[in-house]
Subunit: 152 residues, 2 copies
DNA sequence: GAAGATTGAAGCGTCAATCTTT
DNA sequence: AAAGATTGACGCTTCAATCTTC
């Protein structure tokens, strides 16, 4: 059973991520925010610069389909947290910016998030976390192999 | 920045799981199967026993809402891979069983899955994987802490 | 033609409400 | 009343097709 350990590893990584996702959804819910929307807030808040991101760029950072960004931004714009601004140079493009309300919400959600993450990872130990991060990076790099099973 | 490492760890676990999910979807797609459906196949196939699982039990194992199981089983029954059998003792319950076609599909999908997982985890090293598994288990155990931020 | 954004269809997931059976 | 299953509303995600602009 050489690969059994690998199978378990993959399963537990996915199970852990599942739990994190579920719990973060629960954490953000009272703020009217979803986990996906918090990611957007986070990215846009750090893009403090003037230009803002295009929807395409946001999708690339989130690693989601462009079509997904449309609805996500729709909902967040409706909630008043994000604005679409016409790009002056290219009329195909919208530039995304946080509204003041969006920035305020981000300011409220972030310490909450950091607090629980800090608690959950508290006893993990710096070295062990770094080793795990290295392993995860290797797995991510090898993931493209999934695309080529063998043309069954 | 004591907690920054923890934040990175959480982010990378979720990113890695994301990649695995995406790639496994791609892997199963030619078989007309989704990743969630493969999990069902897998659980039901190992439940080789006679009784089968109730939908409630399946949901508990998958860690998804009961309401989700209904649609999942609907679609798999429509594809002819799963059967709902009336429980002889309790008329509220359906017992779920793989059809022969479902078992055959499972037999086809599983070696494919194990092959790619084996490739992706190939260079990881037994000891490192075991250490990571231990860390993941700790994180999962601590996850309930997410529920109690501090009643903001 | 290619790139950015959108739309529609489908699957997966949650939650809240309902129905049947226990 | 409690438990198993279902339904409906909503959000996230993908894929394929379309529209506008480059």
């Amino acid at each position: 059973m050489k690969s059994e350990l690998g199978t378990r590893l993959v399963r537990e990584i996915m199970a852990t991520a599942d739990i994190f996702l579920r719990e973060s959804q629960r954490l953000f819910r009272p703020l009217g925010l979803t986990a996906a929307q918090y990611n957007v807030l986070n990215i846009l808040a750090e893009e403090d610069g003037e230009r803002g991101l295009s929807q395409r760029e946001l999708g690339d950072i989130l690693v989601v389909d462009r079509s997904n960004v449309t609805g996500l931004v729709d909902r967040m714009a409706k909630s008043g947290w994000v604005r679409r601004v016409d790009d002056p140079d290219d009329r195909r493009i919208f530039r995304l910016m946080l509204t003041p309300a969006g920035r305020e919400l981000w300011g409220k959600a972030t310490p909450l998030y950091h607090e629980v993450v800090g608690q959950v990872t508290a006893g993990a130990g710096r070295k062990r976390m770094e080793e795990t991060l290295a392993l995860l990076a290797e797995l991510q790099n090898r993931a493209p192999l999934w695309e080529t099973p063998q043309k069954i």
